[in-house]
């Protein structure tokens, strides 16, 4: 079971819109961290993902384990939030 979801995004990122659209269609709520508005949180996104890219979706489960999905990757995102 999913406890919460955080998505790191930027204003111009088309793939970020797709992640939000997918979660929205599933009726799931999420916290969005827009790195254009909060550039000081870039390092956090890089630490979590090991990559300098967005979207980064962090799915925290009920047992507090985390799954980090880099990019718009339905093959990983769909089971992570199921």
């Amino acid at each position: 079971m999913v406890k919460n979801i955080t998505i790191f995004t930027t204003n111009t990122c088309g793939y970020c819109q797709m992640v939000k659209k997918y979660l929205g269609a599933k009726g799931m709520t999420y916290e969005e961290v827009n790195l254009d508005e909060h550039p000081h949180r870039q390092a956090e996104a890089i630490d979590l993902s090991g990559a300098m890219t967005v979207p980064v979706t962090v799915v925290t489960k009920q047992d507090d384990s985390q799954e980090v999905i880099v990019g718009y990757n339905l093959a990983r995102l769909a089971p992570a939030v199921a």
Partner: protein, 319 residues
């Protein structure tokens, strides 16, 4: 395989949801032809990840790629188009119906439009794969923000490379633009680029190949190129690559649909592929001009040809 009676059937399945696909869907759905689109990536395709589109008719001041894509999507959905987020992995010709294998299971369609578009090519040099997303990027609008006040290298000399270089100047302290031969971008983009060259934000290196992307530990530190037969180092924090387009047609290779030598889908003048009832439009089509306006036009044409085909008024396939 599932009993054909249990397989969902649609009038038209469009593979892709870029400008060609969405334009086709606007036309088919306005004609009450039930239409489902499958998109594995971003709705809007490459247009959605392009900063600004200046040559799409009707937008005097240009339009953000994401905004144009969103408007196309809304317009298609307004008339009843359904966009499924998933992937078509194979097409089978079963006569009057085509069976598509998808990530949501098998689907049947009376007609299919392939509009999967293209994606940015890789350069194919050492380090490119290793540092993917950790210094090597193909989407400036996604990843440019990570390079505030940092040095960048952009590889390429076409419209995309110049457009995205201009976009990246809003973040980077300096950009080295490595161009294998000469700049092929439109004059207007070249004039715009010239302003940034004058300001010292961009340095253009013509006749320069990109040979290797080098990093230390996790991230990129330099690009090694060759100019006038001499090796040159370009210190950088990241590399953005825009060296042309390759077709998203991998899934068609086992099918009887004819592809050209590069992998683009071959069609006749009616946008019919070598399988009757399967059409292609936009960047994926062999001979396409790779322009968003052309893709939208081809999408509209394909929709009209699909309507003729569904009404059994179409021309025979030319193999």
């Amino acid at each position: 395989m599932a009993d054909p009676q249990d397989i969902p059937q649609h009038d038209v399945i469009i593979i892709g949801a870029g400008p060609a696909a969405l334009s086709a869907a606007i036309y088919t759905t306005r004609e009450d032809i039930e239409t489902v689109l499958f998109e594995r990536g971003v709705v809007g395709g490459l247009a959605a990840v392009t900063d600004k589109i200046d040559n799409y008719p009707g937008f005097a001041d240009g339009v953000e790629g994401l905004k144009l894509s969103e408007e196309l999507r809304k317009q298609a959905e307004r008339f009843g188009a359904v966009i499924e987020l998933g992937e078509v992995t194979a097409i089978h010709d079963e006569g009057k119906l085509k069976r598509l294998e998808t990530t949501s299971g098998d689907m049947l369609a009376r007609a299919v439009l392939i509009a999967t578009g293209s994606d940015y090519k890789k350069i194919g040099v050492p380090g490119e794969q290793q540092y993917y997303a950790r210094g090597v990027h193909y989407c400036a609008t996604c990843d440019g923000a990570f390079y505030r006040d940092k040095r960048l290298v952009v590889v390429g000399g076409g419209n995309s490379a110049i457009q995205e270089t201009i976009f990246l100047t809003r973040f980077a302290s300096h950009i080295d633009l490595l161009v294998r031969s000469t700049i092929k971008a439109s004059d207007i983009l070249q004039h715009e680029l010239e302003e940034f060259v004058k300001q010292g934000k961009v340095t253009v290196h013509l006749g320069t190949t990109t040979d290797e992307i080098v990093g230390e530990e996790k991230f990129v530190t330099k690009v090694i190129g060759t100019k006038d037969s001499k090796k040159v180092d370009f210190p950088t924090d990241g590399v953005f690559v825009f060296v042309g387009l390759e077709p998203n047609s991998q899934f068609l290779k086992p099918s009887p649909i004819k592809l050209d030598d590069i992998g683009f889908v071959m069609t006749d003048q009616h946008l019919h592929t070598s399988i009757r009832g399967v059409f292609a439009a936009g960047d994926i089509r062999s001979g396409a001009t790779m322009q968003i306006a052309s893709a939208a036009g081809e999408g509209a044409t394909a929709a009209l040809k699909i309507r003729e085909y569904l009404e059994d008024r179409s021309h025979p396939v030319q193999n």
